[in-house]
Symmetry: C2
Subunit: 205 residues, 2 copies
C-alpha cells in the first residue's frame, strides 16, 4: 500500500475503468481500512482513444450499480488531466485511489494534481510483482478479457473469464512475447464482472 | 427564480433527467448568474420505474458530453432520496438546481435534503405559467418527444422535435384531455437535443 499517511483511514474516490487493476486497487484500499465513497471515470475524447485506452465506457453505469456507489463520468476534451482536476476539485474526499502498477508517467501526473488539491494518492498496486498479483486477482475477482492487442494474444482470448489455469497460460504467452503480464502497455484489457466488494455480480448475456 | 439568496451567484449541481424541465431550469439558472458545475442523475431501481420516471438513462453520458460538464450517476436502491443525499453530500457546491414545476411533494423533499446539507435549492421553473413556458422552451431548445402515456397522445408524437406549431398542437391536446401542458403527471416525456448552454448538439441517427 503506497500512502503518505499509511494507517490513516481515508475517504477516497477511486479512478476506475472497469478493468482489473483499478478494481483490485480499490478492493485493496478497502481492505487496508480506507473507504471508497465514489467512482470516477475520465472518458477519452475520440472514438479511437476510446478503443485504445478504454474498452468499457458504455458499461460504467453498470459498474457503478454493481459496486453500489455513485460514479462521476467526465468526458475529456484534449487534456485528460484538466478534467481529472476539475472532477476531483468538486469532491469532498481525502484522497484518490489509482490502479497504477508501473507507469511512472501516469502515477506522477495524478499525484501532482492530487497534491495541488490537498488530496492523498493511494496506489495499492504500485510496485507489485505482476505475475503473482495477476494470479491473486483472478482468485479474488471474475476478470474477463475484453480486448487483445499484441502478438501472441489472439481472439480466442476475448470473452474468456480468467481462472488460475488460464492466467498461467496468459503468463506463459507474456513471457514468450515479452508482454507485461498485467498488460501495462495496453496489450490486453479486462472487465471485472465480480469482486469481493461488489454488491451485485455483472452478468454478460 | 426561486432562491433564498436571490442575486447571489452560486455554484450549483443540476439534477437532470435529459428532459426539457431540468435542462431549461439549468439554462435559466445560468442566465440568472449562477454556475452549473456538474450534473446529477439518480437512476430509479427497477426497469419498470426506469420506464415510468425516466426514459433517457442510457443517454446520460451523452448529455454530460453535450453540456461539457461532469455527471454523477447514482443508482438508487429503494429510496431515491437516500442516494440523492449521499451524492449531494459528496459535492463541494453551494446549491442544487431542480426542474420542479408544480410538484410540491418532489420539491419539498429535495429542499429538505438540501437544507440538511446546508445547500440552497434553485428551482427556476417553480410556479411558471406552463403553456407559456412550454412555448419558450421549444423556442430556445430542441425538445424531442420520447414517450407518451396519456389518452390523446398517440405514437405519432414519438420522435417529434417540437416547434412553435407542434407545441401549440400539443397544448390543444392537453386542454382537450385535461393533461398538464408540461406533462407533469408523466403524460409525456422529452429529451433535449440542443439548448443555448450546450457545447455540442446531440444528433439522433
Amino acid at each position: 500500500m503506497h500512502s503518505s499517511r499509511e494507517g490513516i483511514d481515508l475517504r477516497l474516490v477511486a479512478l476506475v475503468s472497469g478493468g482489473k487493476d483499478s478494481t483490485y486497487a480499490a478492493y485493496l484500499a478497502n481492505k487496508a481500512g480506507h473507504e471508497i465513497v465514489c467512482l470516477l471515470s475520465i472518458i477519452p475524447p475520440s472514438e479511437e482513444s476510446h478503443m485504445y485506452h478504454y474498452t468499457n465506457i458504455h458499461m460504467m453505469p453498470t459498474v457503478s450499480s454493481a459496486w453500489g456507489l455513485p460514479i462521476i463520468l467526465h468526458h475529456s476534451k484534449e487534456d485528460e488531466l484538466a478534467e481529472l482536476e476539475e472532477s476531483l476539485s468538486l469532491l469532498k474526499v481525502d484522497g484518490v485511489c489509482t490502479g497504477a502498477v508501473a507507469s511512472v508517467y501516469q502515477k506522477s501526473r495524478i499525484e501532482n494534481i492530487a497534491e495541488k488539491l490537498g488530496l492523498e494518492t493511494i496506489s495499492p498496486l504500485w510496485g507489485c510483482e505482476p505475475e503473482k498479483t495477476l494470479l491473486e486477482m483472478v482468485d479474488e475477482m471474475d476478470v474477463m478479457m475484453v480486448r487483445v492487442a499484441a502478438d501472441g494474444l489472439g481472439k480466442e482470448w476475448l470473452g474468456k473469464v480468467l481462472d488460475k489455469r488460464t492466467a498461467y497460460q496468459l503468463i506463459e504467452v507474456c513471457r514468450k512475447y515479452r508482454i507485461h503480464p498485467m498488460g501495462e502497455g495496453g496489450e490486453y484489457e479486462t472487465f471485472v464482472l465480480n469482486a469481493p466488494h461488489f454488491k451485485k455480480r455483472i452478468r454478460v448475456v
